[in-house]
Symmetry: D3
Subunit: 134 residues, 6 copies
């Protein structure tokens, strides 16, 4: 259904970029969404995330700010993990969330800060010899 | 009215930061909002924009993404100008807006891209024979 | 309290339409909201859902798109069930959600697609001789 | 078209309440929207604005906060005028808008404050030598 | 810049679909947005608008509801024109906008209804003695 | 980190106001957010909530309407409790939520009404000699 219009080469490149940014588990979740998941891998990761001007750190900073602004909490933990992987420090993320409070209000920033806190706690727990890479 | 709770030192520092990020004309607009304008200068520029972890380039990248996501068009031109001043290139801004399209949808990204186009054109006109391509 | 301004005839018609679109259980939830629930039955189902131009299929397509766009997840499962009852196929709903991704962004579409998946799974489970009508 | 489901008595009461809150010119604009305008007069002004617990001052405070939060600028000037008519002072409105900044962010509050400023200026001009300071 | 990842075949198909839905003038506006415009033509029109399950009438109904819900007024006139072209009648559009009022509130529906009114008036003027009543 | 720019006097005043409006437990949650929590206590409660024009009842009416409009459910229970403490009656809160439905749509109002219902039930349970002040 609807798969004839997908482009294998773009999909393959998107899958590779997705795994650099996130991980296998996140990929399975996205692919569990069927045709929509395939478009996300192709368009977002195969096309948007392969453009030359921004770094992955820039992109994840942007993703965290956009998701926080719009109060889209389901995708935030995964992008906070990707932000840390892309080199943003916990302090940089805290400031980015505080800055977002000035544009989107304190409530979504409070929620995002609590989410960051639990992502950092989860990584601390995982860091004692665990293999979960974050 | 209500000014007794303002802190002169924070306000002075905010005013200085505001002028580094934006310009005199933008400051007059904000100060034209009275008590609210004063709080913006103090809290946003005197407190949020003086934190140590993010660079001004990071902050303006975040501001452009947040304003685009929420479709808040009135403040966007000024932050696009501040972004260029803080070192973001036109191509980086274009990619940031395209990335925002994936999180907030194409319509707000289309509006932001059209606004970027006119900010770049305005800067070209103002640039006295400059070669900045837009 | 406040019930003097309700119109019995419109309410009765709304209740009937509500039960055609949704079911008894959903009606009890709405009526549990008191005066607000009564206005929803009267105004939304007794007035908006009895207008002559659109079909129920059109209305539910619109409701799914609006709820997805705004990220209003609490009311989505019930309207996805109503959509299937009104004749929208799972593939039509999947495409409607993907289309919404282009206007509202991928995150709310991802959430809506996951919700559709569980509504469809719940109906599959219920279809083995169960009486729950969906 | 679609008018059979309107209730004349509720409409008449809504029209009366609308004119107490706003004015003839605003009513003509709403009635220019046809069937939708009629539902607004009936449902919002004939039913919501005739409930017993809140005062008009409370309702207009709520309307200004809701419209500011959501950035719905088209309806704001009319509700700011209605707020002043219902007894809210310019200082109360300024504080309400500043409070909204903490929940919805500074950009929509900046826009609302600028709108309030021009509504107050417009009322000063219309005030035939009145001393109302704005 | 960034064009290496575009797919010519998908773009060509998207351009064709775009012109069936909208017109040459609208295409020039989108293409004026550069790389973003190209992605819109490819992804939205070349991929989303070529899926098999929904009709163009369904898609435009969805687009009008989504744009109205989110208050995205810049893209609404063009999709209202496309809706009429795809077979939605003025009465169906009026009901769709009224239905959206119940999910997104009256203010965005009021704006959309006023926009529909001017799109219909513009089509009447363009219609050389046509009888379309608007 | 970042605390050098906090003002002890404003923080102390904010903490006092916060405890008048909410309670110790809510304060611990906000302070658990670190630097952001500190800014909320200082700016929102030490500066916005100490302005002279609005009453606490007005402020909480505004907070409930803003949080309901934006669908920000995490902060709503605490502000509903604060509303009751500031003198708003359950009926006034019900009407405020219904009024918000007209501006923001029924779905966020339905959620807010269900939240109010459980806040009221929780207070009823707590009222039998319990010490939890609400």
């Amino acid at each position: 259904m609807g798969t004839h219009e997908h482009d294998e080469e773009t999909y393959r490149r998107g899958r590779e970029r997705f795994l650099e940014i996130h991980d296998e588990k996140a990929l399975r979740t996205v692919e569990g969404l069927g045709d929509l998941g395939r478009h996300i891998v192709e368009f977002v990761y195969g096309q948007m995330y392969t453009k030359p001007a921004l770094t992955d750190r820039d992109r994840e900073l942007g993703a965290v700010v956009a998701l926080t602004s719009l109060g889209r909490s389901s995708q935030l933990p995964q992008h906070l993990r990707a932000s840390l992987k892309a080199g943003l420090t916990p302090d940089e993320l805290r400031e980015a969330i505080m800055l977002t409070a000035t544009i989107a209000g304190f409530p979504p920033a409070m929620n995002a800060m609590a989410t960051l806190k639990s992502v950092l706690a989860e990584q601390d727990r995982g860091a004692d010899g665990a293999t979960e890479p974050g």
